[in-house]
C-alpha cells in the first residue's frame, strides 16, 4: 500500500525511521525481536565473564574485567531502551527472556572454564559481535543505529583487552600458553556460528536487507571475521582448530572447514552446556530481587504522594 511504499522510499533514500514514525507491523516486530535478542545477549553475556571476576589473577585484570562486564550491563540498558521506543515494556522483555520466548546469543551457553576463556571471549566473541554490529550503526531505525554506535565503540575496546590478555598468556609459561590454546579450541567454532546459519538456510534475510535492518549476509560477515582473525591467531602463536583452514589466493580469502550445524541447532534448542544454568541464574536473580524492586517502587510512590500533597497544600 501507499504507506508501505512511502516507508520503503524513505529507507531507500537513506533516511532514519524514528519511534513516532509510521512503520509496517513486520518492521516493528522484526526490530523488537532483533533488538531485544541483542539486549538479552548483553545481560546473559555478563554471566560467563562474571564467573571470573572474583578470580581474576591481578588487580589490574580484575578491574578491566569488571569494567567490561559493567559495560555489558550498560549496553543491555541502551538496547532495552531502544526496544522500548517500539512499544514494549522492559517488564515484558525480561519476562520473554525468563520464559524462554525470547532468545539470546547461543555463544553464552558455553562455560568459561579457565582464565584464558576471558581473553577468548573478548577477542573472538566481541570480535564477532563487532563484525555483526558495525553495519548496524547504519541501520534504518534511528534509536537502534545510535545505540549501536555507542556499543561498537566500547566493544572494540573490549576486543583489544581480550587480545592483550591472551598475548600475556602466550608470552608466559607453557601452562599459560596451553590454557590459551585450549580456549581457542573451545571458542573458535562457536564464534563462527555467531553469524547465524549459512545464507542458503537463513530466513527473514531478504526483507530485513530491504528494510536495512540487516546489511550484510551471514556468510559475508563470517568470511570477514575469519580473514581478520586468523592472522591474529598466528601472531599469538596459536593454532586454529581447523584442518581445512588455508589462504586461497584466488579468492583473496581464507577457506575454512565445514561448520557442525547440528551443534548450533542443539544449543539453540536448549541443549548447550550452560543453557539451563544461564536462564536459571537470571530467573533467580530476578525472583530474589522482587522484594527490592517492590520496596523501591513503594518508596517512590510514597514520596511522590508526599510531594503532591505538599504542592497541593
Amino acid at each position: 500500500d501507499a504507506d508501505e511504499q512511502a516507508f520503503q522510499a524513505r529507507i531507500d533514500d537513506g533516511q532514519k525511521i524514528e519511534a513516532q514514525d509510521w512503520m509496517p507491523e513486520g518492521y516493528r516486530r522484526t526490530l523488537v525481536r532483533q533488538i531485544s535478542q541483542h539486549a538479552h545477549s548483553e545481560i546473559v553475556g555478563m554471566l560467563p565473564e562474571g564467573n571470573w571476576i572474583t578470580r581474576a589473577p591481578s588487580l589490574k585484570r580484575k578491574a578491566i574485567l569488571l569494567a567490561k562486564v559493567q559495560d555489558e550491563a550498560g549496553h543491555g540498558l541502551y538496547l532495552y531502551s531502544a526496544a522500548e521506543t517500539l512499544g514494549v515494556s522492559r517488564e515484558q522483555l525480561v519476562d520473554d527472556l525468563h520464559t524462554g520466548r525470547a532468545k539470546y546469543s547461543s555463544i553464552f551457553n558455553y562455560p568459561t572454564l579457565t582464565w584464558a576463556d576471558i581473553g577468548a571471549i573478548g577477542w573472538l566473541v566481541d570480535g564477532a559481535a563487532i563484525m555483526n554490529q558495525i553495519p548496524l550503526c547504519r541501520c534504518s531505525y534511528g534509536p537502534y543505529s545510535r545505540a549501536m554506535v555507542r556499543v561498537c565503540k566500547e566493544e572494540s575496546f573490549h576486543q583489544r583487552q581480550g587480545y592483550d590478555l591472551l598475548l600475556a598468556l602466550c608470552r608466559g609459561s607453557e601452562e599459560q600458553k596451553a590454557m590459551a590454546q585450549d580456549a581457542l579450541e573451545r571458542w573458535w567454532w562457536p564464534a563462527l556460528m555467531m553469524f547465524g546459519p549459512p545464507d542458503a538456510d537463513s530466513v527473514h534475510s531478504a526483507q530485513s536487507q530491504a528494510w536495512k535492518i540487516k546489511l550484510l549476509s551471514n556468510d559475508e560477515l563470517r568470511q570477514k571475521f575469519v580473514d581478520q582473525t586468523v592472522p591474529q591467531a598466528e601472531y599469538l602463536g596459536l593454532r586454529v582448530p581447523d584442518a581445512d583452514l588455508r589462504w586461497n589466493t584466488e579468492r583473496g580469502h581464507y577457506d575454512f572447514g565445514a561448520i557442525d550445524w547440528s551443534e548450533f541447532h542443539a544449543v539453540l534448542k536448549g541443549n548447550g552446556p550452560c543453557n539451563r544454568e544461564r536462564l536459571q541464574a537470571r530467573r533467580e536473580a530476578w525472583a530474589e530481587g522482587e522484594w527490592v524492586r517492590a520496596a523501591a517502587l513503594a518508596y517512590a510512590d510514597k514520596h511522590a504522594a508526599a510531594e503532591r500533597h505538599s504542592q497541593a497544600a
Partner: protein
C-alpha cells in the same frame, strides 16, 4: 615508624579490596540491571583505591612486594581489613547495610586523611573521597528505600542492621600503630570519628524509619590485627587461586 604506616596502608587497602571482592559476587545477579552497574561502579572504585594503598604499602615496606604480591600472596592472618567488610553478602538488605555502615565511616576517614602529613596519603585520600561521596549517597539512598519501602524490606533491613552492628565498633578501635600515626599527624584518631558517624547513621536510620541499635552494644574486634572471622579464608581461597596455582608468572 614505617611499620605503623605500612599497617595503616594495609588496613586501608584491605578494607577496599575485601569489600570490592564481596561486591564482585553480585555482578550479574542483582535485583535490577541498574544495580549491577552501580555495584560494579563501587567495586571498581574500591579496587582502584586498594591498588593505590597497597602499592604504597609495598614501596614503604621495601621488600619488593607490589600491589598484587600483597593482594594475592598473603593468607588471612596477614590481612588487616575490619571484620565488617568480610561479612557475607546475604540478601540485598545485608549488602546495603554493610555498605552504608562502612561508607559513613570511610567518608569521614578519607576526609580526615586529606589533611594527612603524609602527602601521598593525602593525595590518595582526596581522589578516593570523591568516589566515596557517591558511595555514601547511594547507600544512604538505599537505606531510605528499603527502610521506608515495604513491610518486608523494612524487616529485612532492620534485621541486617542488627546482625552487622557488632562489627561497626571496630572502625573506631585504636592500637599502638594508630597512636604512633596520630601523633605524627598521619591519620586521625579513630575514636574522633565516632560521634559524627553515630550522628550520621542515626539520622539516616531515623529518616528510613529504622531503629538504630544501641551505640554501646557489645562489639567484635580483631580484623585490624589480623584476627578475622571464618569467612575471610574462603574469600581469599577463591580470589587467590590463580596466582597460587601458577606461581611466578605474569598475567
Amino acid at each position: 615508624m614505617n611499620d605503623a604506616r605500612f599497617e595503616c596502608l594495609l588496613r586501608l587497602g584491605d578494607n577496599a579490596l575485601v569489600l570490592a571482592q564481596r561486591l564482585c559476587a553480585w555482578i550479574g545477579h542483582g535485583p535490577v540491571m541498574e544495580e549491577d552497574m552501580a555495584q560494579a561502579n563501587v567495586a571498581l572504585d574500591l579496587i582502584g583505591q586498594a591498588r593505590l594503598w597497597l602499592a604504597y604499602a609495598g614501596e614503604l615496606e621495601g621488600r619488593g612486594r607490589d600491589e598484587d604480591a600483597l593482594a594475592y600472596g598473603r593468607d588471612a592472618g596477614a590481612f588487616r581489613n575490619v571484620l565488617l567488610v568480610e561479612q557475607p553478602n546475604g540478601d540485598y538488605a545485608q549488602t546495603i547495610a554493610r555498605q552504608f555502615l562502612f561508607d559513613a565511616w570511610h567518608h569521614a576517614e578519607l576526609s580526615a586523611l586529606t589533611a594527612s602529613s603524609d602527602a601521598r596519603i593525602a593525595a590518595i585520600a582526596a581522589k578516593a573521597l570523591k568516589e566515596v561521596s557517591y558511595h555514601l549517597e547511594r547507600s544512604s539512598d538505599w537505606m531510605l528505600r528499603l527502610g521506608d519501602g515495604t513491610a518486608e524490606s523494612h524487616a529485612r533491613l532492620q534485621a541486617a542492621l542488627e546482625r552487622l552492628w557488632m562489627y561497626s565498633g571496630e572502625l573506631f578501635d585504636a592500637d599502638a600503630h594508630d597512636a604512633t600515626l596520630v601523633e605524627q599527624g598521619i591519620v586521625p584518631a579513630p575514636q574522633s570519628l565516632r560521634a559524627g558517624w553515630l550522628q550520621q547513621v542515626g539520622a539516616v536510620c531515623t529518616a528510613a524509619t529504622l531503629t538504630m541499635p544501641d551505640a554501646d552494644a557489645w562489639m567484635q574486634h580483631g580484623g585490624r590485627q589480623g584476627r578475622h572471622s571464618e569467612h575471610l579464608g574462603y574469600l581469599l581461597a577463591e580470589m587467590q587461586f590463580l596466582p597460587r596455582a601458577y606461581p611466578g608468572v605474569q598475567w
